[in-house]
Symmetry: C2
Subunit: 270 residues, 2 copies
């Protein structure tokens, strides 16, 4: 498949766009979509599943499970529900953002919590045909959002489980700074664990809180062609989701954001 | 030496405090100081050297050289001057912040620029009794301030040079998230390359621009006792600088900030 045809639109890029409109627009554009649990639950799981099926749109991932560094029964139950939702939507991967450091805890302890949660959830996911996709987030989120910070660390966490149960997300925004990123991608390929491939660009200055500063593709310093080549070489040729948390994009009409993002994607991969 | 007696005050923690007052206050408090080039140049190098000598204060480092990812003759010359200044002040280490990605460049290319600059500067520093201390900065600064992001990467850059010429900075604020941080510190010790040890705490939310959000010791998630133990075990028992870039601290009188920071240091190491 031509790289330009691998584009998938993550709904969070137009966060406030109605899910039905977003899915139908992706159908018209001939692209896949990454869905989020909140809008899915708002519409209802069955209605959401029917929507994507009727539209003929591929759901490339469901965002997101995780937040289980303190793996309480409630956190585990919520993740089982997320796996069920991914299965019902036909999403091959459930993206996991691990969560930060529990109150009074340490980052090492939080990482052990992630391992513990995975050992409970991995077989459950496997039985439902869903791959848990561990997403390393940029280290600026390590205390409050995700203690998993590199591809290598995500692969170490995934190692005890079969690759169809636990994989990793390769998201350029979060890993581009890593001096071991190319080795990490190659290893993820060798181990068959690339479960999701996402693009966003790195731009500065970062906004307060740093959550909503992701750049449109081409606006920042990330060499997307290199990422495409390395991930291709690692054997992953599936969809590439573009997920931009960006206040300026969120303020604009979804259809416009979809068109602009698709065009930016085509530019950076051509 | 008791851990509490290893405190050194980095001038940037009270950035707008007059250098003479800061040095004299550190003398009265019986602690060392980390100096910055701009105030040193403002007072004049000879006058600054006389100031610290008369006060009997140990200059634990000079901040900072670097910004040589594009190693132009001007950048190299400026770093030679910084080495001369460190030597004149009796500072054992010149802290290097590498710089970000040059316009149109890549992070890999920028890292090669750092290696090239070091190969020119290391012998010059060695001849003057100054160790170049490569400081890995938090990856949120990787594009615009410092492409060196981990202790391991800094050690790889230092590897071609004798340890008395090129070492690394262990700064808790920048490296606490690294899943390989304990191995990195142990390796730095084995290779004799811990040239500076600095404390700052990690707190969120980060402010816009993310430069001035460092937390007072004890306000964040960093386990300073663990760092102290690991760096001790790695064989480094020298001074520990506290360097906090923090708008709220910068707005307060320097003497107050010094006293509060010294007290916070004693609490987190006791």
């Amino acid at each position: 498949m031509r790289a330009a045809d691998r584009f998938s639109f993550n709904h969070a890029t137009a966060k406030f766009w109605d899910q039905r409109e977003a899915v139908e627009a992706c159908a018209r554009a001939g692209v896949g979509i990454g869905l989020w649990r909140e809008p899915v639950q708002e519409m209802g799981l069955e209605a959401s599943a029917k929507l994507v099926q009727d539209a003929g749109v591929a759901v490339t991932s469901l965002c997101r499970g995780g937040f289980f560094t303190d793996p309480t029964p409630a956190a585990i139950d919520d993740n089982r529900r997320a796996i069920d939702e991914a299965a019902a939507l036909g999403a091959p991967a459930l993206v996991l953002v691990s969560g930060g450091i529990p109150a009074g805890g340490t980052i090492d302890g939080a990482r052990e919590g992630v391992q513990e949660a995975l050992s409970v959830l991995a077989p459950y996911a496997g039985e439902r045909g869903v791959t848990l996709a561990i997403e390393p987030l940029h280290p600026m989120f390590a205390s409050d959002r995700c203690v998993v910070t590199t591809i290598g660390e995500a692969l170490d966490l995934a190692a005890p489980f079969p690759a169809e149960q636990v994989g990793v997300v390769v998201d350029t925004y979060h890993i581009w700074w890593d001096p071991q990123v190319w080795q990490g991608i190659a290893r993820a390929g060798r181990e068959g664990r690339i479960a999701s491939f996402q693009f966003a660009d790195w731009v500065t200055p970062l906004p307060a809180g740093v959550l909503t500063g992701r750049g449109q593709l081409g606006d920042g310093c990330i060499d997307f062609k290199r990422y495409l080549a390395e991930v291709d070489a690692a054997g992953f040729t599936g969809p590439i989701e573009v997920e931009l948390f960006n206040d300026a994009l969120w303020a604009r009409p979804g259809a416009e954001v979809l068109a602009e993002t698709k065009a930016a994607f085509e530019r950076v991969v051509s």
